[in-house]
Amino acid sequence: MHEMSLVADVVDLVERRTTGRHVTEVRLRVGALTGVLPDAMQFCFEMATAGTRLEGATLELETVPGRIACRTCGAESPCDDHVLLCGCGSADVGVVAGDDLMVTSVAVRREPACA
């Protein structure tokens, strides 16, 4: 499903930012509220990187917990549920953290030294 599309975007992004380098690791920050499934990401990553400069790279996922700010009572609270509800009962909340998907860093093979 959309993990495949998101992984394709990850591969495009990494290729664009690592011109000519072979990538050995991709570190991805996954917000808990994005609904992305880590297992599906890993599965799709292997398929999507075949034949690219990322072939054989490992995908390291760092999960970021969801956090919401309530417009009714002003409180901030953790939330990993897609039904965004403050402890005070209000659903009038904004997402502070956890709705993002970000490539934080990559490891690339060092170029061989010139003779």
Binding site: S5, T24, T34, V83, M102, V106, A107, V108, R109
Partner: protein
């Protein structure tokens, strides 16, 4: 040399807090780029393009069979005198929906996503190039039938409308909260079938507002016409407001 901060060059000495846990034969590059940044950038470009031409774009989303295309056919037939309507149709395969829209009397282009489950901003950008909507027109982007993925992808729309039909049950907003939380309007279609199904319109509205406080919920029947005037009034309002 430390591949995290570059320290350890000859003549340097300083303290730092991170540990040196990187493979000796690799370099660590900071990227810090959002995966959807590229789509969001294209969506913003689409939005500005539409804004410059005074075109209002509505992203129409629902599960397959809720009545998106039928709603557009009736809208085109009954409001063509008021404003020009054009449509970008999204489906995995076939041009069937674009053909229906053309027969109803509006310009349409079909986007086939193949294995893809949603329209994204780059597909809509290309479709806008083919469709070339007139200034001041009302553009509908009829998304791929899917209550999950389209919610994640901004395509440059002005408003998002989610259609659910009474045959789907009244719990769908709770089961697909990302989709309903992103809606500017929830249309509940096929109210003509209420006597035959277990669906309570008040419960649909309550559930929609549980994930999207204050969202407008509009019951209607495309087949029989009830509620269509309220739909046209909503379209008039969004055409007039920024």
């Amino acid at each position: 040399m430390c591949v995290t901060c570059g320290c350890g060059q000859p003549g340097e000495s300083h303290a730092h807090s991170h540990t040196h846990a990187v493979q000796p034969s690799t370099d660590l590059l900071a990227i810090e780029e959002r995966v959807l940044a590229h789509n969001d950038h294209l969506a913003a470009h689409n939005r500005a393009w539409l804004e410059r031409r005074g075109i209002r774009a509505v992203n129409l989303m629902s599960s397959p069979g809720s009545g998106k295309t039928s709603l557009l056919e009736r809208t085109i037939a009954e409001t063509s005198g008021r404003r020009e309507v054009c449509v970008i149709e999204g489906d995995q395969e076939t041009a069937a929906d674009a053909e229906r829209i053309s027969r109803a009397g509006a310009n349409a282009v079909q986007v086939n996503t193949g294995a893809g489950c949603h329209l994204d901003a780059s597909m809509v950008e290309r479709a806008l190039g083919s469709l070339d909507p007139s200034e001041g027109s009302l553009l509908f982007v009829e998304n791929v039938g899917n209550l999950v993925c389209p919610a994640l992808f901004d395509v440059g729309e002005h408003r998002r409308v989610v259609v659910v039909s009474v045959t789907e049950g009244d719990d769908k907003p709770l089961k697909y909260p990302q989709m309903f939380a992103a809606a500017d309007l929830v249309v509940v279609n096929k109210t003509d079938l209420l006597p035959y199904v277990d669906c309570d319109l008040d419960v649909v509205a309550k559930n929609a507002r549980a994930v999207n406080p204050g969202v407008d919920v509009l019951p209607l029947s495309v087949r029989h016409g009830s509620g269509m005037d309220a739909w046209y009034a909503w379209l008039d309002r969004i055409s007039d407001t920024p």
